[in-house]
């Protein structure tokens, strides 16, 4: 009897969770239908948001991966003083609110070195590079976490043997470590990209919500919702949902390849 009750409670919990998500997804369609949101996707301002989001998230996630690989490798392989603190520091963007990240970046550009960068190198505040920077920070933390786990799974002895067989440290990385970490690299890139494309808080704080300029998809959802253009907001929500589903499938396939 107690075994059946236990099973019933577990299945009921799972069923409730799945139902909640499904109802949430279905309500997108039930509110605005399917035709109007799809036609809204053809509108110029919506297309601008989609293109801007795709561009910024791709650049941010790609750039973050360049920094995440050495950072994660160092955390996975090397012992150094203060490693725990460095590890925790790199996790901060995962824990704190994205708005706080945006706020911190905004404050950073109010300092003397930040102002110098703004005036002499690249303008970040209320500009597209600001979106990329915010998304970069958010993607980087996530990618380091995923890649650290991937590198920790690879036996360091494989790299050692590659060195004895004639590979320098770069060649050992290229021929052994990175191919073995490929599922982790894919997962990190896709998760980072997905997290970046869905970001609202950090992006809106540093880049603002300038229509036709810094309105990424999440920002555009808020703008359209405020302007009571529900079908446009729903269209973008549906698109973000589809992207999320795609990201999760790719990550699961990559995880499957890792455990196979």
């Amino acid at each position: 009897m107690s075994r059946h009750l236990f099973r019933l409670c577990i299945v009921a919990g799972l069923g409730a969770s799945v139902t909640l998500v499904l109802v949430m997804l279905a309500s997108q369609v039930s509110y605005a239908g399917i035709r109007e949101p799809i036609s809204a996707l053809g509108r110029q301002d919506i297309q601008h948001s989609i293109k801007l989001s795709l561009f910024c998230a791709t650049v941010a996630a790609g750039l973050a991966l360049v920094f995440a690989v050495p950072s994660a490798y160092a955390l996975a392989r090397y012992k150094f003083p203060g490693k725990t603190i460095v590890d925790a520091l790199l996790d901060i963007p995962i824990i704190i609110s994205p708005i706080a990240i945006g706020m911190t970046l905004l404050l950073m550009f109010r300092t003397a070195p930040g102002s110098w960068v703004q005036e002499n190198l690249i303008r970040f505040v209320f500009e597209v590079p600001g979106i990329i920077l915010a998304q970069f920070i958010i993607a980087l933390a996530l990618q380091i976490r995923v890649l650290k786990a991937a590198f920790e799974e690879i036996d360091p002895r494989l790299e050692q043997v590659a060195r004895y067989l004639g590979c320098g440290p770069w060649a050992a990385m290229r021929k052994v470590t990175l191919p073995l970490a490929r599922p982790g690299l894919i997962a990190a890139l896709v998760l980072g990209w997905g997290r970046a494309i869905g970001d609202y808080g950090a992006t809106v704080t540093i880049a603002g919500s300038v229509k036709g300029k810094t309105d990424t998809m999440p920002i555009s959802i808020v703008l359209n919702w405020s302007a009571v253009r529900i079908e446009s907001a729903v269209a973008l929500v549906m698109l973000l949902t589809a992207i999320a589903v795609l990201v999760l499938i790719v990550v699961r396939l990559a995880a499957g390849a890792r455990t196979a």
């Binding site: 036996d155 050692q160 004895y164 067989l165 060649a171 021929k175 052994v176 073995l180």
Partner: protein, 335 residues
């Protein structure tokens, strides 16, 4: 060929101290010792993975102590073999040739080494995870030997295999040694493995070389107490304890020898007891398949004698017997 001089290296609390070793071209030097003795640390330092705190490693009279491992022209087979799981059998074997830009005769080199090691039939295998333990060992050996290394380093190469597969591979390794004559540096805790492969041996205990020399002399007649204990020699007794019963024997101990060891087969017992006899009491009789082990209790120590089955049947527990030690077979040990 390889000369290790006064090598010291620390790893955490553990320290390898003043290691001196020599390995001649075409020879096989085995560093034999218990787990935790520092064998792998020594191997990694000699191979160039770790920088020594002091001391040098010379290869053909050239100091290679600070040369990175990829420039030493060596090969290494670790305990877990470390075959590359993302590569096929052929790609694993070809790895070193490609890394060293020895691609001219890559196909024939792989096939030649595969033939020597009897793994030609495995070359088409894509997934190395489907190989048996013995097959993996041979592939790892092929990957190491195909680059024609100046020295092949082996770290407990058979530890992952069962007894039958291990014995089969030991014969394959001996055959490979006869045919290719590589210079080998082996670390192991297994005396059988060492006897099969090595011609020189160094016994390492607690980060120091306790004893070294030709295999037969070190294994059969160890000179240090630590070596004798590691080699599981029976009847290791302090000379001071023996002096009470056999004063003449104790006086004949060479200077510095504080312990002696007697093999069980070098002890004879008799039931004829006289006033001059060295007497012990039969504490136990263990019958083995072709002989018997007799445990002889003395006031300060116990001796283990190997006797024939016929004699063992005439003895009983608690019986006093006269013990005779064959003086010429006694090993004198220094602490």
């Amino acid at each position: 060929m390889i000369t290790v001089s006064k090598l010291s290296v620390a790893y955490g609390d553990f320290q390898l101290r003043d290691v001196d070793l020599e390995l001649r071209e075409g020879g096989c030097l085995a560093v034999l010792g218990p787990s935790g003795a520092g064998k792998t640390l020594l191997l990694e330092t000699v191979m160039g993975s770790r920088k020594p705190d002091s001391g040098t490693v010379h290869l053909n009279d050239k100091d290679i102590s600070s040369l990175p491992p990829e420039h030493r022209n060596i090969a290494y087979i670790p305990q877990d073999l470390a075959l590359f799981p993302h590569l096929s059998v052929r790609e694993n074997i070809a790895f070193g040739l490609k890394a060293r830009n020895l691609k001219q005769s890559i196909v024939s080199d792989i096939e030649r080494i595969a033939k020597v090691l009897g793994i030609e039939h495995l070359l088409s295998r894509k997934d190395i995870r489907t190989l048996s333990g013995g097959e993996k060992q041979r592939v790892a050996l092929a990957r190491a030997l195909v680059v024609n290394p100046r020295v092949l380093f082996l770290d407990e190469p058979l530890s992952a295999l069962d007894v039958a597969a291990s014995r089969e591979l030991l014969h394959a390794l001996r055959k490979m040694r006869r045919e290719l004559n590589p210079t080998m540096f082996l670390v192991s805790h297994d005396l059988t493995e060492v006897c099969f492969l090595a011609d020189e041996v160094a016994i390492m205990i607690d980060g120091r070389i306790a004893e070294k020399g030709p295999l037969q002399s070190v294994v059969s007649c160890p000179k240090s107490l630590a070596s004798a204990r590691f080699l599981n020699m029976r009847n290791v007794v302090a000379v001071a304890d023996v002096a009470e019963f056999l004063p003449e024997l104790a006086k004949s101990a060479p200077s510095g020898s504080t312990y002696l060891a007697v093999r069980p087969e070098s002890i004879t017992v008799s039931t004829n007891i006289d006033s001059e006899s060295f007497i012990g009491t039969v504490a136990d009789i263990v019958t083995l398949h072709s002989n018997a082990l007799l445990m002889l209790a003395l006031p300060r120590f116990t001796l283990e004698a190997s006797i024939d089955l016929e004699q063992s049947s005439s003895l009983s527990l608690g019986q006093n017997v006269s013990i005779h030690l064959n003086g010429s077979k006694i090993l004198w040990l220094q602490e």
